[in-house]
């Protein structure tokens, strides 16, 4: 456990709170470490000291740990692959290059199996998603207390919030899902035109032939509701699936970590459990990264598919 004075609930809550920098509204009552209350005279951008403060910041706040780790890991991915691409030779691939080529080949095959249209964006996007999400998920395998404790030691603040797995933050997963959603709409409109896209939303799956055109007055609203829900459900399910899996995994690691502070025996049990769960989690993190990539590709393929051509 991070510090002895905490209850289990506090420990868990502390682990689930992001490092938040945001705007507190004017007139907000803050309580500092000594218990003194003071009122903010004007809206201020500041670090949140408690979960409540983070919550009260509302939308105008940013999770520094999520952003930091995700950008850092994204840079790591970009750097490693860029270096590999720079150094790559046509000759026999060796060491890191062959590993990189293995991943690229795997992604390329997976994407070309699903996506049959011409688009130079989709395959690199698949690679980026796969590697980036995998790296972010991989942070889950680092024992839960290590990095937060290190951060507390560095800052000297025993209540320093530090969540190291970006994919356990719904902002990160939904943020990526939103990006996928925007690309989906962009490619839908690009491929089918605005009218084609609207037509897809309104005249599908039910559409009466010309003779019974008056049925369409009823069918179009039904179609619109169905298709819009289906459209919106894609990014939300995409983001929440990754978030849910990683959050649950993180939660179990935290619960196992609670055992360490009870006594020696349970500590040993906890160690074994943590190892077991980590081994199992290796499967989960790769699978979730893969699923995110595949679903993104599938959605892109759907955006490119023209229903009119099929009929």
């Amino acid at each position: 456990m991070a510090s002895e004075g905490q209850t289990s609930t506090q420990y868990i809550q502390h682990h689930l709170q992001n490092l938040t920098y945001g705007k507190l509204p004017a007139g907000y009552v803050r309580t500092d470490a000594e218990g003194h209350e003071h009122v903010l005279e004007q809206a201020t951008w500041t670090m949140a000291h408690t979960s409540q403060e983070a919550k009260d910041m509302g939308f105008m706040a940013i999770h520094l740990d999520t952003m930091g780790w995700s950008i850092g890991l994204g840079l790591l991915f970009s750097f490693l692959f860029f270096r590999a691409a720079k150094k790559a030779t046509v000759g026999v691939p060796k060491g890191f290059q062959s590993g990189v080529e293995l991943i690229v080949d795997f992604v390329n095959n997976t994407v070309s199996d699903i996506f049959h249209h011409k688009n130079r964006l989709i395959a690199p996007m698949g690679l980026t998603i796969f590697c980036w999400v995998f790296l972010m998920n991989l942070m889950d395998l680092i024992p839960v207390d290590w990095l937060p404790s290190a951060a507390m030691a560095v800052t000297g603040d025993p209540h320093f919030f530090f969540k190291v797995v970006p994919t356990t933050d719904p902002n990160a997963t939904l943020g990526m899902a939103v990006a996928v959603f925007l690309l989906m709409i962009f490619f839908s409109v690009k491929e089918k035109g605005v009218l084609g896209f609207i037509k897809e939303l309104t005249c599908h799956p039910f559409f009466a032939p010309k003779k019974f055109w008056y049925f369409n007055i009823v069918l179009i609203p039904i179609n619109t509701i169905l298709e819009t829900v289906a459209l919106i459900a894609k990014p939300i399910s995409l983001g929440l699936r990754l978030f849910g899996n990683m959050y649950a995994g993180e939660m179990i690691f935290i619960l196992i970590a609670l055992l360490f502070s009870v006594n020696m025996l349970l500590g040993v049990v906890g160690g074994v459990l943590q190892w077991g769960w980590a081994v199992f989690h290796i499967l989960v993190i790769s699978l979730q990264a893969f699923i995110f990539m595949v679903l993104t590709t599938v959605y892109m393929a759907m955006a490119h598919d023209n229903h009119d051509e099929q009929h």
Partner: protein, 156 residues
């Protein structure tokens, strides 16, 4: 677990990384991998072609060897024929030369014989003349009787 600006930040980050990957990572790696794929395919094809070429060359070599053997056999046969022909010719020549030498020797012998005969005849005539002189006791005019003597000598 609050939804806030992080969401937008993450969306932008996502686009930036995808853009970077699309621009600087993916094309370089894919082009190198495709190039290598092509190289390997070319290599395999070349190996196939070399195999075929080898087979063809072996076939050709066998054919050439066969032809050469046949030619050699023909040449040897011809040479043998020529050799026997030469031997025959030499034999013929030797026989002819022999005959010629024999004929020359015979002619010479005959000539010698004839000359000896001539000589002998002359001597006999002289002898006969001397004998007749002695018998007649007088000198016989050699000139007057030469015709007679010569006639005698010719008869011998």
């Amino acid at each position: 677990m609050n939804i806030n600006l992080t969401l937008i930040g993450q969306t932008l980050t996502f686009f930036v990384f995808i853009w970077f990957c699309m621009k600087f990572v993916w094309p370089a790696l894919i082009s190198i991998m495709e190039e290598r794929e092509k190289k390997i395919a070319d290599g395999l094809e070349a190996a196939d072609r070399a195999d075929k070429d080898l087979e063809l060359a072996q076939k050709k070599a066998t054919e050439k060897l066969h032809a050469a053997k046949q030619e050699a056999a023909a040449i040897i046969e011809q040479a043998n024929k020529r050799a026997s022909q030469i031997v025959e010719e030499a034999k013929g020549q030797a026989v002819a030369e022999g005959n010629r030498l024999k004929a020359a020797a015979e002619a010479q012998i005959e000539q010698e014989v004839n000359r000896a005969k001539e000589e002998l005849r002359g001597k006999v005539a002289a002898l006969a003349l001397a004998g007749a002189e002695k018998v007649l006791g007088a000198n016989i005019d050699a000139n007057a009787n030469s015709e007679l003597v010569n006639q005698l000598a010719a008869e011998l």
